[in-house]
Amino acid sequence: MVEIKPIKKVTDIKKLKLLANQIRQDLIEALVSAGSGHTAGPLGMADVFTALYFNVAKHNPKYPFWEERDRVVLSNGHICPVIYSTMANVGYFPRKELKTLRHFGTRLQGHPHRSSLPGLETTSGPLGSGLSQASGMAYAFRMDNKKNRVFCLMSDGEQEAGQTWEAALFAGKNKLRNLTAFIDRNNIQIDGHTEDIMPLEPLADKYRSFNWHVIEIDANNIKAVIDACNEAATIYEKPTLIIAHNIPGKGVSFMENDHEWHGKPPTAEQAKVALAELRVWRENIMKNRD
């Protein structure tokens, strides 16, 4: 029996920022190769995924089925380019495989399929079921007195789905302290802005009334993400929701805050511009000028 240890946490914020920048560049390249897929959401959530996989979660890419690992459950499967890019950068598979995204025979299905890629914890795409799955995992771990934490990533649009609230009720009732959920609060969905399509506010109050502990953060600030996850670990009586306010398309000026970029990939030309911008950002991080 090999003794499995979790990967060493990256604590240096500058290093984490550089990783997030690389994850953004890699996912842009993957999307260009795919020719379809979602761009704005993955760019906006890159900092959250970087924080989770490089600092917060207990895991080891060499042992994707390690029983003691924390579970990252992606509910809004359509932002999978960011989980794939993060998993590649942390060592679950070679970065060059990112270019197979959405191609025939790929392990990187258009929406994530658990059995296709070791390290993926669930299959998702149809919105609204991730919080249920994460709650089931958290409940089962607690039954067995296991210490695994469960992180669930949801979109804001999927707060419109009734099942999300069925799960929120369950997690609140059962005080699932080992469950930390995120809402990717970028205010956009396919048809427009969330508050025009179906207003969600006051979102924090809704979850608080379901007996959740709620934290609101700037989710493009990696340190804020890490701090919020650490705070969640200290809350004993409730599950925690982190409302992850972020800028969709973060890092690429012509994509930021534009719902048109929710569900399409960049062309090769647009990607060149995007990658150039991301490289400038990288230089600025290097010079501590970001």
Partner: protein
């Protein structure tokens, strides 16, 4: 002349009026307790129907492994998927109209597809129990009479679909579901049905059991229609020699046994408490159409919704009695002679 299969160990008073009638779901309750005793990872989830689904029997024995979900079948399906991913074998209990009716997509994505292609040991072990299926839920009316659930579940890759013929078989199916990796659908009605099998009756997931031999026509049935089929065979004894097959596992279908049977008899009657398309009839017709075309007559609900009434009344109105099977057998045999 065909006879009852002695190796099926059916009850000795099969054709007596005083044959014991038991709720099929009692077998589910007993099976859950047995499965729970054998494996501490067995958990049971229920959506506000613990008494009528018999999940309560498990709850009393293992309160810490029983999870009340409330009226939220979609959550229940995906939650069970999560529990399975964390090492549990999760039974989810409700009425078939709600589960797998209302939560069909959750079952598809988070259970069936989530399990599809898994490495051995990594399957999603969620076992869906659809109670009060068919029209025997009677007075509750059509909203509660699931007649399409077997079809729904049969269309999901990797799903094993079992419709037990009585309480004893239901108990065996429940224990087998816990012990066999992957997603399962177990389906049973509400009423008291003749308890026709015994502890010694063989049961294996995916295997058709011959309950009666015969050379003129194969009646293939599941659920409470197995008893009706045996009764029909008895009624036809002097006229047509009927073979009766108990096809509890609709998926995967035991094609080899079915093929062997029809090669001998040359015609088939299917019988089930379900729409006459998509369920057992669909499975049998698809298989035989492709492999060994013979006349097929279907006994089932003929593309309509149910309504309120007693189970006996409804079985007659919807054409699910032994007399309806008799008529179907005569018609099938006639087609064969053309």
């Amino acid at each position: 002349m065909g006879t009852l299969n002695p190796n099926a160990y059916l009850v000795s008073n099969l054709y007596a009026k005083d044959i014991k009638k038991v709720k099929t779901r009692d077998g589910y309750g007993k099976g859950l307790v047995k499965a729970g005793e054998k494996n501490k990872n067995v958990v049971v989830l229920c959506a506000d129907l613990s008494e009528s689904t018999r999940s309560e029997w498990f709850q009393k024995k293992f309160p810490d492994r029983f999870v009340e979900i409330g009226v939220a079948e979609q959550n229940m399906a995906s939650l069970a998927s999560g529990m399975s991913a964390a090492g549990k074998i999760a039974f989810i209990s409700s009425y078939a109209v709600f589960s797998p009716g209302r939560n069909n997509e959750q079952i598809r994505t988070t259970i069936s597809y989530n399990s599809w292609g898994s490495k051995p040991g990594k399957e999603i072990n969620v076992k869906i129990a659809g109670a009060h299926a068919g029209i025997s839920v009677g007075p509750d009316g059509a909203t509660h009479q699931a007649l399409e659930d077997v079809g729904l579940m049969r269309l999901q890759p990797g799903m094993t679909v079992i419709v037990p013929c009585d309480d004893n078989e239901c108990e065996k199916a429940t224990v087998a579901a816990a012990e066999t990796p992957g997603p399962f659908y177990l389906r049973f009605g509400r009423a008291d049905y003749p308890s026709i099998t015994t502890e010694k009756t063989p049961f294996k997931v995916g295997r058709i059991e011959e309950f009666r031999s015969g050379k003129d026509c194969t009646i293939i049935a599941n659920g409470p229609l197995v008893y009706e089929a045996l009764t029909a065979a008895k009624k036809l004894e002097k006229e047509i020699d009927c073979q009766v097959l108990n096809c509890h596992t609709v998926k995967p279908l035991d094609g080899a046994t079915l093929l062997k049977a029809v090669q001998k008899t040359g015609c088939v009657v299917t019988a089930e408490e379900h729409q006459w398309q998509g369920g057992l009839a669909g499975a049998v017709a698809e298989f035989l159409g492709e492999n060994y075309p013979v006349p097929i007559k279907r006994v089932g609900v003929k593309d309509r919704f149910g309504e309120s009434g007693t189970p006996d009344e409804l079985f007659k109105v919807f054409g699910l009695t032994s007399d309806d099977i008799v008529k179907a057998v005569r018609a099938a045999v006639k087609m064969k002679k053309k």
